[in-house]
């Protein structure tokens, strides 16, 4: 009895540590099942804790995002005109690029069909907001505000418009935990875009992402794009993961190299995500329509380039007429009695005495006089009727 009294503090500590060690032993199974990281009882405990914490996280997130939105709305107003102008220019450029990409996509589809290759496309997604994080450097986990009630299940891929974020770990009725790709226990099958080398991407202790199962290869260079390979059955093929940041020998695992990847998504600042709830073998109807429209536009552009034009774009009058036609409607027929414009020679860059228009008309020429055009004067193309 004296022993218990004398050492009650130490005995209590030993009892607590022993209980926790047994609890850990029950939880951690070997080999670890990545699809089911927690047993039913542990999952229940986590669910209770998440249910208790989630309302507070939602309130905090709402206050934070509301304040942030109000501030950024004020800031955005100051730059909206310039931004609008930039966006319009960007849109025009993207439309041109889209036509070319559509052609490549169609070609790719044809080749895939020839090879009998089946690719899965993102079929359906659920948008969710990030309301919490693990708050620890040992684990990189996000909490989102959607759960089983919204059709989410463990192991579904989570992305943003920029690329891959991670996959769902534990899914509760109204919330879910996202295991980010930079977590130590995370992994993904990837493909190096230009060299087509397949590899496995893993998170590290420091929250970085690296490929560690490749031997040295001089073809792999910093800046190479890293995409999902689809081989892990979690992430659909072709999603952007990041770019190769550096390549160095892995001191712990020779002869392999440690290829560090800079993620396309800033994982520390993820606000909204898309959870891929379904994939399909073909493009969605909307995407098919977009692809068809872009291909048709591309075909029209090609035809327009190949057909001879009757209006010279460099002549202001002709441009105006063309512009007017475009403004009044592309289907307006040209005037029947309109005089066809004569072809004009292109303006020369470095005029000399042989250039068109550098010589004065014959009627102005005088024997023994200076007949060359004044120095520095830009020669003018001959005007119709001027020589008459």
């Amino acid at each position: 009895m004296d022993f218990l009294t004398q050492y009650k503090n130490a005995l209590f500590l030993i009892g607590v540590l022993l209980s926790l060690a047994i609890a850990l032993a029950v939880q951690v199974r070997s080999p670890l099942d990545e699809a089911q990281p927690d047993g039913p009882s542990v999952r229940l405990i986590r669910m209770w804790a998440m249910t208790a914490v989630t309302p507070l996280e939602r309130v905090t997130h709402a206050i934070g995002s509301g304040t942030g939105r109000a501030w950024s709305a004020y800031i955005d107003l100051r730059h909206v005109r310039q931004q609008n102008k930039d966006l319009q220019q960007q849109l025009a450029r993207v439309r041109i690029e889209e036509a070319a990409i559509a052609e490549d996509a169609l070609q790719g589809r044809r080749l895939q069909a020839m090879l009998g290759f089946r690719e899965s496309y993102v079929g359906s997604t659920v948008a969710a907001q990030v309301i919490g994080a693990s708050g620890s450097e040992q684990s990189h986990i996000l909490t989102i505000d959607k759960g089983t009630r919204d059709g989410l299940r463990p192991d579904m891929a989570v992305i943003t418009q920029n690329g891959v974020v991670g996959k769902l770990r534990d899914v509760f009725p109204t919330t879910a935990e996202v295991l980010e790709i930079n977590d130590q226990s995370s992994g993904a099958g990837v493909l190096l875009a230009s060299t087509r080398i397949r590899a496995i991407l893993r998170g590290t202790l420091t929250g970085r992402v690296q490929i560690g199962n490749l031997t040295a290869d001089s073809r792999i260079q910093p800046g190479e794009q890293v995409l999902t390979s689809g081989g892990d059955q979690v992430y659909p093929r072709g999603l952007q993961v990041g770019v190769v940041e550096s390549i160095a020998p892995d001191p712990d695992h020779q002869p392999y190299t440690a290829i560090r990847v800079k993620t396309a998504v800033d994982l520390d600042r993820v606000e909204e995500v898309l959870v891929i709830t379904g994939t399909q073998p073909d493009l969605t109807a909307g995407a098919q329509q977009d692809l068809t429209a872009a291909a048709a536009q591309h075909a029209a552009d090609l035809s327009a380039e190949r057909l001879p034009g009757i209006y010279d774009e460099q002549t202001p009058g002709a441009t105006g007429a063309s512009g007017a036609t475009a403004a009044t409607g592309a289907a307006t027929p040209p005037a029947v009695n309109a005089t066809p414009a004569l072809p004009h020679p292109l303006p020369v860059v470095h005029p000399d005495r042989f250039s068109s228009g550098s010589t004065a008309p014959a009627s102005d020429l005088k024997p023994g006089g200076a007949n060359s055009a004044p120095s520095g004067q830009q020669p003018q193309p001959p005007q119709p009727g001027a020589a008459q």
């Binding site: 009650k8 503090n9 130490a10 209590f12 500590l13 607590v16 540590l17 926790l20 060690a21 609890a23 850990l24 939880q27 951690v28 070997s30 542990v42 405990i45 986590r46 804790a49 998440m50 914490v53 507070l56 996280e57 905090t60 997130h61 934070g64 990030v130 919490g132 994080a133 693990s134 708050g135 620890s136 450097e137 040992q138 684990s139 986990i141 770990r169 534990d170 935990e177 295991l179 130590q184 226990s185 202790l205 420091t206 520390d268 600042r269």
Partner: protein
Amino acid sequence: MMVTRSYMSRREVEQQRFSIPVTVLVPVGAVLLQVLLPRVFAGLAILDLPFVVTLFFAISRRSPIVGTATGAAIGLLQDVLTGQPIGVNGMAKAVIGYAGASLGSRIDVENTTTRALLAFGFSLVQSILLYLIERRLLGIRAFHVLWLHELLRATANTVLAVPVYLLLDYTKHRE
């Protein structure tokens, strides 16, 4: 009559108590802040607010049993929310609570310098404990510790602990 200043009498005189709301809300608030703050600035994940609070209650109450129980409870709550196996932080913080309370009854923990040294030292002890638990007990070979980073973490926790302890001193019920 000779006055004796035994260990027990000193502890009984200086043992501090806290109200139930403070006992419950401060640790829960610390764990919640730990979860929410890195959302604002990712670099704040280096801090360990639950550790700071565990150590404060341990050295203030000076009861190893209460320190152990407080540390275990805070650590378990942290484990539940961080997605780690439940018990990793529970074990580490239980030891911190026990050791902090044992040391708190032997030295003057009201001094700011002493508190800073305790926070720095115990932060490193916690890093060692987490390494042992993850690497040896759970057998996670991929788990590595960057000791320079752990020194930085200990420094950051110390910088945080000093003002937090001064604030939490106001919540004490002195007898």
